[in-house]
Symmetry: C2
Subunit: 354 residues, 2 copies
């Protein structure tokens, strides 16, 4: 995980021997299994009249048995329906997803497709409900920022040809394309930066422990501390919801405990903006590095040093892969990890206050 | 437009004599016109087999003639399909829409419905394409932040029972529910505030002149100046795209012209954040009031005085009305205008620098 000189492409181990899209059942397969003609299958699939209830049932049974799902761009274009892709976010109000969504939308538009968004509100059940609702509405592909950690519910859709790319966090329990930032390396860089400015008592405030990026960033924090030979105290680490009340309490406890921190590493932009508020109220100067850049970070006093992700490139890369899946030029799922970038602006270069 | 003591509800003049939803054609109407039974209409509408091509054509002609569209929540629930509503934004990356989207989503969720978003990217054609694509995907209702100024294309959908509420900006050329902020009054308040602190040469930088809110806010600026007996110079007013390059040039021209401004009123949050940057580079102190609150405005030096809209209440009010349309308890379109709130933080209370 050390050579972060640029974008890395790591082929995922294929758990299924067959090509993910190559074995997609066709209408011909359905017709053969049901013992009917292709036109009959077409009528049933497209909801056209002229099929007896008995025949329809036989076709439907074959469709279910084979996992057939009508879905190909050519058909869509023939029917005059607008192609569309879905984007499942975790929070519509998190500014991190703004540039990511817009980048996905721009790629979709370049391919003549509409983008439809929805939010899981960080709820795995809601994510599944939304993903399946989008599939039922015949999106051609999905870009998913997953809330859950088990995506086996998506396998029938993927097998049936719905292109799928995960972004920001990996898929759980299925092979799927994933595009993410190097959370581990970025956090390690940010904490190492604080250590290089003389800090030893450094706090970490992150998102909920079931979220992949939160765990990876905590791992990066621990690695930087271990590299520097600094034992980490439990009181310096806090994972949980990113609402201002929880983050404020976590920051205040670290700042006032028996072994108070002189610097804080904030695990994402939602955490950082609350920590900025808390630090503005302190009498001593506390150093801060935040994961994620945010608007106006450079105009605060001091400017906020951040580990920046490139949200637009995450979105664009994911969407590009989606359309490459759809046009058949991408076969095996891969994991693409984008590097982060440390931007120094003042808050991360403050010396320890004691 | 003067009595802004709270939320105002103004019944829109009904241009059509009939109730917007009361005359919605039913399957019975279609059956009568086509001379077939109700079951046959149901088969055609639901794409079920057992109808001859000739009969199907007759039913389809009746559907087209009457403008019938199957769409009612009861049917949706019977079929087990998840109810959904669509939200059409103008820019996925504008933070103003974050709390608005989340509020719409929360109301949708409380009604057991999914929210599907899309962005028009401020393009009227794109708006229409997206709206119709969402209708084709059987959303039960639409919350629209319009990019265009002619929404007659929506009339067949509305007649067919798609609930529709416009938010932030009114619909064009149709009667429809609209929920918006008092842009005129808010801008007038903000500019009056600058005048009360001694400013007479005040600049206005707003969004594109075809956008309703931009025009209303400019009107508020002009009214405040006229109330104070201050003649407005053309060089003090600039409308256009809100990208940083255009806004920066506009601000710099006002600050260096023959009659340089001592204060700027920024027409929305996208404009404000660029003006904040420009003002931070000036040698003299320029006062600033911005329309829209934004994150960290209070932590800048000086804090940024704003005319705040309540984006969450805009979204919640619009979504509430949408579901009241769907459950039949709302009949006539109304225009609801929410008051704005001046929040003083320092930048708007600076005296003129000359």
């Amino acid at each position: 995980m050390d050579d972060r000189t640029g974008q890395r492409i790591v082929p995922e181990t294929a758990r299924r021997p067959e090509n993910r899209y190559g074995n997609r059942p066709t209408m011909k397969d359905v017709a053969a299994r049901a013992g009917v003609g292709l036109k009959t299958v077409s009528r049933v699939v497209n909801g056209e009249p002229g099929v007896t209830p008995d025949t329809e049932r036989r076709v439907q049974e074959a469709i279910d048995a084979l996992g057939f799902r009508r879905n190909d761009s050519a058909r869509v274009l023939r029917k005059g329906r607008t192609a569309s892709i879905g984007l499942v976010l975790e929070d519509l109000a998190d500014p991190f997803y703004g540039p990511l969504s817009r980048a996905v939308e721009e790629v979709a538009r370049a391919h003549g497709a509409l983008l439809i968004n929805g939010s899981s509100a960080e709820d795995p059940d809601r994510e599944q409900e939304l993903v399946l609702a989008l599939c039922a509405r015949r999106v051609d592909g999905l870009v998913v920022i997953p809330a859950g950690d088990d995506h086996r519910y998506l396998e029938p859709e993927i097998k049936a040809g719905v292109a799928t790319v995960f972004v920001d966090r990996p898929a759980g329990k299925i092979d799927a394309d994933v595009v993410l930032s190097d959370s581990y390396g970025g956090a390690r860089d940010g904490v190492t930066h604080l250590i290089s400015h003389g800090h030893r008592r450094i706090g970490f405030i992150g998102d909920m422990p079931r979220i992949h990026t939160a765990v990876e960033r905590l791992r990066g924090y621990r690695a930087a501390m271990e590299d520097a030979g600094i034992p980490v105290e439990d009181a310096w680490m806090s994972l949980g919801v990113t609402d201002p009340v929880r983050v404020r309490r976590a920051a205040e406890e670290m700042l006032t405990g028996p072994s108070p921190v002189t610097a804080i590493f904030a695990g994402n932009n939602r955490v950082t903006v609350t920590v900025v508020r808390v630090l503005a109220e302190q009498s001593r100067r506390i150093a801060l590095v935040g994961f994620d850049d945010f608007e106006l970070a450079d105009l605060l006093q001091p400017g906020v040093t951040v580990v920046a992700q490139d949200a637009a490139t995450l979105g664009r890369t994911a969407a590009d892969r989606l359309f490459r899946q759809l046009d058949g030029t991408l076969i095996a799922p891969e994991r693409i990890e984008l590097p982060t970038r440390l931007i120094t602006r003042g808050s991360g270069e403050l010396p320890p206050s004691d």
